[in-house]
Symmetry: C2
Subunit: 303 residues, 2 copies
DNA sequence: CCACTTATGCTCCGACGTAGCATAAGTGGT
DNA sequence: ACCACTTATGCTACGTCGGAGCATAAGTGG
């Protein structure tokens, strides 16, 4: 009984803020895909291999890189040798050269994840569809209804930003994303909005988003996405874009300052048509100093 | 340029409470190792493969199972084909048949992780050694000292239960665990206490412990380790054993009750030589109901 | 009946998150 | 110069929750 012959593939979810929008690095034109590549004999470690592939395919170096999850389902394609996919989450800034890849907005791929504006027109489109799915099989309805309510924050349940993966999986099961085996849905049914990706890459993206949203709450990783100097307003915009949710400005500032995560540069930034904002710099020391609590999200119900 | 030929191996950290002690399922006699096995063509998924191997090698079924981390370092052994190790964390109860494996106490493998008693004789033995290591190279001393202080809670820093992996890695780097390439330490030096394990299995164990300690704080997973019915005292003992730390009794009860994690069975348990305790049962519904906050640890400084 | 143990109830306090009010300091238009 | 508007920043009131201590209940073993 010898071990199965398999090959390993590295998958990268590389995130950066482009303007005000959080984006992912993608390749491929008709249908986008994540940068990926096989593990080769020359690679020293999985992380190093991921770095090399991203660099080679997109021409950019990565800073922060963290392992996400390892998949190895049989049904990924019909090939005889099984492929194991090890996914990573990387964070960068987009200022450098563009390379070959394209930055694609998170919320064009997962539109229902953006709840910053009260609009939620997206959810208003999705809600009835998942409700219909829930009631489809009477025997499962009660469980499904509850699951919808929790993952999508219906019926008085709070909307939880980091349930990204659970939401994607529910939509997948409900046949509402084009990646689903759509056997059981008639082709004229309207699907949930959002561009599809190759294979299960959108699910991997959702995994990355979920991890990032969870992580900014207890570790100061937002700063990996910021320019060296920034205003508190920009920082807040970034956090809000990542969390897909508005935060209470004053409390956010207090939180950042009281934790001494940043230091004043003494300079100001005045290009917003309002009172000029102080420029701050991340105190990199905190990464050593403490196993620090990162950006808590002061929730706000208004707005 | 074809993909490297590799094999994949599953590694399991299976945890259960045996009496009052948290234990890991191990195999092998002179030096313990974790249950493990290669990924075979018949396996449907990584998780299923792990289940099968644990079952086959130890004769026990697993309930809760969660992916931990994937390793693939070149130096794991000298073989030409690379091995990728995918590690999992499993939780069970030990009441069933013992199978072939042996339950080994966490704290016999990682003694410095138990800070329930103020004894800390262990730490009192380790502290001077890591201090010596920190001061060994003057150029690195300041950074190393701070790292020791944070990971081991010295110099007024709080002791953080979930830094298990960081502590193990520090001891490894300092050459204080027998798994270290001990080149640079003279053989008569006294090492940190704790039984060694095969290969890097002890590091994997540390990873599992870290994950579990972190997880019980925000997800109700403790109950996977409890008998169907239990007293709040037993639950607290379990949490304390896992966290390696004492918690404030009254606050712990308040926390559990206010979250409605358990329900009264109406029965009592009177074998402790004190006032009989009510017996409770985990409300499995909460797993559905909410993405619930699990056992927060009401820290206690006294005791 | 007493000493001891475990279980359980209740209260006080301080930290922090939530929220609203108020002010400062720019821009662009009249 | 003045005004409307925008963004930045400061401060205070309030409620919730975690941290800690005091007190009581209800068993066991001498």
């Amino acid at each position: 009984m010898t071990a199965e012959v398999i090959s390993a593939e590295l998958l990268a979810v590389v995130v950066a803020m482009v303007g005000d929008e959080p984006c992912v690095l993608t390749l491929g034109d008709p249908t986008p895909r994540l940068p990926a590549g096989p593990l080769l004999p020359g690679h020293r470690s999985l992380q190093a291999a991921t770095r090399r592939w991203v660099e080679e395919q997109t021409g950019r170096r990565l800073g922060y890189l963290e392992q996400l999850y390892t998949f190895a389902d049989l049904d990924r394609d019909g090939s005889p040798t099984r492929t194991i996919s090890i996914s990573y989450l990387g964070l960068t800034t987009p200022n450098a050269d563009m390379g070959y890849g394209a930055w694609r907005g998170w919320y064009s791929l997962l539109p229902w994840e953006d709840t910053r504006t009260t609009s939620r027109v997206l959810t208003a489109q999705i809600t009835p569809q998942i409700r219909a799915w829930a009631d489809q099989q009477p025997s499962l309805a009660s469980g499904r209804r509850q699951r919808c309510a929790i993952t999508f924050g219906l019926d008085g349940n709070p909307w939880q930003p980091d349930l990204v993966l659970q939401r994607y999986e529910l939509l997948y099961e409900a046949g509402l994303v084009p990646e689903s085996p759509s056997d059981w849905r008639s082709p004229d049914d309207e699907l949930a909005p959002g561009d599809r990706m190759v294979g299960d890459h959108r699910r991997v993206l959702a995994t990355g988003l979920a991890r990032l949203r969870a992580k900014i709450q207890y570790r100061p990783v937002v700063f990996e996405l910021m320019a060296p100097e920034f205003t508190l307003g920009q920082l807040q915009d970034c956090v809000e874009a990542l969390a897909g949710r508005a935060v209470h400005t004053q409390n956010f500032r207090r939180l950042i300052e009281q934790q001494a995560l940043v230091e004043d540069t003494g300079q100001v930034h005045a290009e917003t048509g309002g009172r000029p904002a102080r420029l701050y710099r991340f105190r990199r020391e905190v990464l050593q100093e403490r196993h620090a609590a990162g950006t808590k999200l002061p929730t706000t119900r208004s707005r």
